[in-house]
């Protein structure tokens, strides 16, 4: 009975509820930089992530539990361990890395086929726009075959984690979508 009451309570109030957001992408795309850009608003020096980073941030009265998973080939198979209860996925792409665009596309579509992620929203960051020779957002969208996605709210945003451009815009969109779906 106590459980029931408390469950009702938290559904009503949404207090302390955390939204799980995953940041995925190939190695060196800038996931960790984006995470700490969100957390502390600064660019930090990063090392390749072996495993994961997780940070809790408050954003527009919401508690976000943001997971940044390592993107190395050896760690990618373990992404699936983190899919459960995920509200949204942020997929980060290195816009300058044209050679590996098809690998990124493959990983993205493979991930989205997972049942646990059927209801989660997708935000793609076409990152590293500050670098010369970066593909534009629409070009990246084409490379990733994003048009094929059905039954899913998705968006692609051009960003530069170093300069801090596009990150908040992308997150704003994501939060709006998630709020509608989850609350």
């Amino acid at each position: 009975m106590g459980n029931l009451v408390s469950t009702v309570f938290d559904r009503l109030w949404g207090v302390d509820k955390e939204l799980r957001i995953l940041i995925l992408g190939l190695d060196g795309a800038g996931k960790t930089t984006i995470l700490y850009r969100l957390k502390i608003g600064e660019v930090i020096e990063t090392k390749p992530t072996i495993g994961f980073h997780v940070e809790t941030l408050s954003y527009k009265n919401l508690k976000l539990n943001v997971w940044d998973l390592g993107g190395q080939t050896s760690i990618r198979p373990y992404w699936r361990c983190y899919y459960a209860n995920t509200a949204a996925v942020i997929f980060v792409v290195d816009s300058t890395d044209k050679d590996r665009m098809n690998i990124a596309s493959k990983e993205l579509h493979l991930m989205l086929q997972e049942e646990e992620l059927q209801d989660s929203a997708l935000l793609v960051f076409a990152n590293k726009q500050d670098q010369p020779g970066a593909l534009s957002a629409s070009e990246v969208s084409k490379e990733l075959n994003l048009a094929e996605l059905k039954d899913r709210s998705w968006s692609i945003v051009a960003s530069s984690a170093i300069k801090g451009e596009g990150i908040t815009e992308g997150l704003d969109w994501l939060i709006d979508v998630v709020k509608e779906e989850q609350m």
Partner: protein, 699 residues
């Protein structure tokens, strides 16, 4: 504002959703709890999981989900997850890589508890992949500002060494470990020392710990007072193994260690005693007060719980063998209390007899009265030990050599006469003790004839001998007694034993043989022949068989009688001086060095306690290799002999052919084998080719 916070807090408490058991199974529920969006629910789930883990249930299937909760600000939750990871890492080695990042960042956490927790858990996980990433956190924590973290890191080096010695050498952390010995914090010093000892045990050639210890003796002495009990034990252990350079250093060590004799922890006391004893021989003069302090320390151990008392008693027994005068004034403390457990009682009796000053008649009499009381106890084993102690006491006192002491032996004999009369169940041990006393008295005749006669009368009257004695030694002593002190109807007394000859113990068989031969004049020829026959045909023991053969020979030659009488002349048999057993000098030396360890409780030096299965394995391999080598050499030698027999020209080629075959057979990879074979080839060449080429070969 305050109200707002209170409401919030109330709500937070209210929405704790404990994972409940549903139809889908507990593990499913727990998994759901772990990925819940509510932090408190996740924490409760982790608690539940740890609870199940500690009660022995296998919850390893939740590994990936538990891992996700490792990155948290909540130190309690972190600790729980670390506990889980340490326990189940080996079941999911591939997933462990996911925690590396957290380990590394936790090792740089502002909280020292988290830093040390991270490095401790990281070095505990026996997964190769984790080891690759240990360098940065280990270095960082080894040079940490906080002594607690440094202390943990230092121990981690030893753990790492156990898992991967090559990596340790590669990272050079062993040098860090050695420099940690001069750390300002006593805990770090002690732990570094413990780590070095551990590494030394794994790979003795790796670090010269002895040299390091001798360089740091002064440091150790300085930090000793500020250490915890464990650290003190480590340091004192090293100090006791240290060979001091001059008496001055020994003096200093002893002076600094003496205060620790009063420590509350019995282990610290015992190791301090050991440390002082080890350095005692180096001192120029040993003040009497030092012995008193050692005695007091050992006596203080007698007021601990009985289990610890037992350990202390076993150690005291060893110490007394080397320093018999140490506890002389403390006899009373070892008197048996009625509520002592049996194992303590028996050890105490052992020590009482050893401690007793033989020249103090009053104390001897007191102890004798005490032992007589013990002998009336209900516990069979204790009474047996008490009776044995009485005889040991009598012999020890009589060795004092004065008149009063001689009378004592007779008093004891009377006691024994009453014991064998009244207490049938202790005939075994009484018989053995009477035998001992009579053998002790073999040439001095202290025991008066009246009691001898009484003994003979009582013992000769015993019926059904085959059922009276339960032990080999008991019946052996009985036979010795009646063949030495009676001459009437020997045959009838021994016949029942002869009938069950094959079932008798070796000692009894031997006693029967010797008794019958000794009294060959008073027994019938057929009886004697029967025993000799039995001893030469039905006995497996070689000694008995040889002895029987020899006696038979002696009896069948001319003057056989005389030879036999000479052999059994009572005055030729050496006198029994003491029935107290002592350790051999080498044994005593190694046991003293291993005081307060398990080996001192078992009375077995560490070298005799094979505890590492690894070693056994390695030894086995070595044996196999040695055997292989020996077999090869043997065959080669035979081969050589063959070659030497036919010196024809074709011998060289033939033998090399066979050698090649041998090579294939044993697949020799060791250098030894190769050398042997090439030498043999040279030898063969000797026979067929000229000396000049031979010399060239040798060059």
């Amino acid at each position: 504002m305050g109200v707002d916070k209170k409401i919030k807090k109330f709500l937070r408490d209210a929405i704790r959703v404990a994972p409940k058991i549903s139809d889908k199974g507990e593990v499913f529920e727990l998994r759901n709890g772990l990925v819940s969006p509510y932090p408190q629910t996740r924490k409760d789930a982790i608690r539940k999981i740890i609870q199940q883990m500690t009660s022995g249930k296998d919850v390893s299937s939740l590994f990936p989900d538990v891992l996700k909760n490792i990155a948290t600000q909540d130190i309690e939750q972190k600790k729980l997850v670390y506990l889980y990871v340490a326990n189940y890492a080996e079941t999911h080695p591939e997933l462990c890589i996911l925690v590396v990042n957290t380990f590394v960042s936790d090792a740089a956490d502002p909280n020292p508890l988290i830093r040390s927790m991270a490095i401790r858990t990281m070095s505990m996980i026996r997964v190769d992949k984790i080891m690759e990433y240990i360098e940065t956190p280990l270095r960082k924590t080894l040079a940490d500002d906080n002594p607690y973290v440094r202390r943990t890191a230092v121990l981690c080096v030893a753990k790492l060494f156990q898992l991967n010695p090559e990596l340790c050498h590669e990272l050079g952390v062993l040098n860090d470990l050695q420099s940690a010995l001069s750390d300002e914090n006593p805990m770090v010093v002690a732990n570094a020392l413990a780590a070095l000892h551990e590494i030394n045990e794994l790979d003795p050639g790796c670090i010269d710990v002895k040299k390091l210890v001798s360089e740091n003796v002064r440091r150790f002495l300085n930090v000793l007072n500020e250490c915890t009990e464990w650290a003190r034990i480590t340091i004192l252990e090293s100090l006791s193994e240290h060979k001091s350079v001059d008496p001055m250093e020994s003096r200093e060590i002893v002076d600094r260690v003496v205060p620790h004799l009063q420590h509350v922890n019995p282990s610290v006391v015992l190791i301090s005693v050991k440390c002082i004893l080890m350095h005692l021989s180096n001192l120029n003069t040993v003040p009497e007060s030092l012995y008193n302090k050692l005695s007091t320390a050992l006596v203080s151990l007698m007021s601990t719980p009985v289990e610890i008392q037992y350990v202390a008693l076993r150690n005291i027994r060893i110490i007394l063998d080397a320093f018999p005068d140490l506890l002389k004034k403390e006899l009373r403390i070892f008197y048996v209390k009625f509520n002592d457990p049996l194992y303590v009682k028996i050890e105490k009796l052992d020590i009482l007899i050893r401690l007793l000053p033989a020249d103090n008649m009053k104390q001897c009499q007191m102890l004798f009265n005490e032992l007589k009381e013990y002998a009336k106890d209900f516990d069979h084993e204790f009474v047996t030990k008490a009776i044995q102690s009485i005889s040991q006491l009598a012999i020890k006192v009589s060795n004092g050599g004065e008149d009063t002491h001689d009378k004592f032996l007779n008093t004891v004999m009377e006691e024994f006469i009453s014991i064998i009369q009244d207490r049938e169940e202790f005939r075994d041990i009484s018989m053995i003790c009477i035998g001992d006393l009579l053998r002790y008295d073999s040439d001095s005749n202290l025991i008066d004839n009246a009691s001898r006669a009484q003994l003979v009368a009582i013992i000769s009257s015993w019926q059904d001998i085959e059922t009276v004695f339960t032990s080999d030694l008991g019946s052996c002593n009985y036979i010795w007694f009646i063949t030495n002190y009676t001459s009437e109807s020997l045959e009838t007394k021994l016949q029942p034993l002869v009938e069950i000859f094959e079932d008798l113990g070796t000692l009894t068989q031997m006693a029967l043989l010797m008794g019958a031969v000794k009294c060959h004049n008073s027994v019938s020829g057929s009886f004697l022949e029967n025993i000799l026959q039995l001893c030469t045909t039905d006995v497996h023991d070689l000694d008995i068989r040889d002895m029987a053969m020899m006696y038979w020979r002696c009896l069948s030659i001319e003057n056989g009688d005389q030879v036999i009488n000479q052999l059994f002349d009572r005055h030729e048999i050496p006198k029994l001086h003491s029935t107290l057993d002592h350790f051999s000098p080498e044994m005593l030396k190694s046991l003293l060095q291993e005081l307060s360890t398990l080996s001192s409780v078992y009375f077995k030096p560490i070298s005799q306690l094979q505890h590492r299965s690894n070693d056994v394995h390695i030894i086995k391999n070595k044996n196999l290799d040695e055997l292989k080598g020996m077999a090869t050499n043997e065959i080669l030698k035979n081969q050589n002999d063959d070659v030497l027999l036919d010196m024809g020209n074709d011998s060289g080629t033939r033998s090399t052919g066979v050698l090649d075959e041998l090579n294939d057979l044993f697949d020799i990879t060791g250098d030894m084998g190769k050398v042997n074979i090439s030498q043999n080839k040279n030898n063969n060449n000797n026979t067929s080719s000229s000396h000049a080429t031979d010399l060239l070969d040798l060059m």
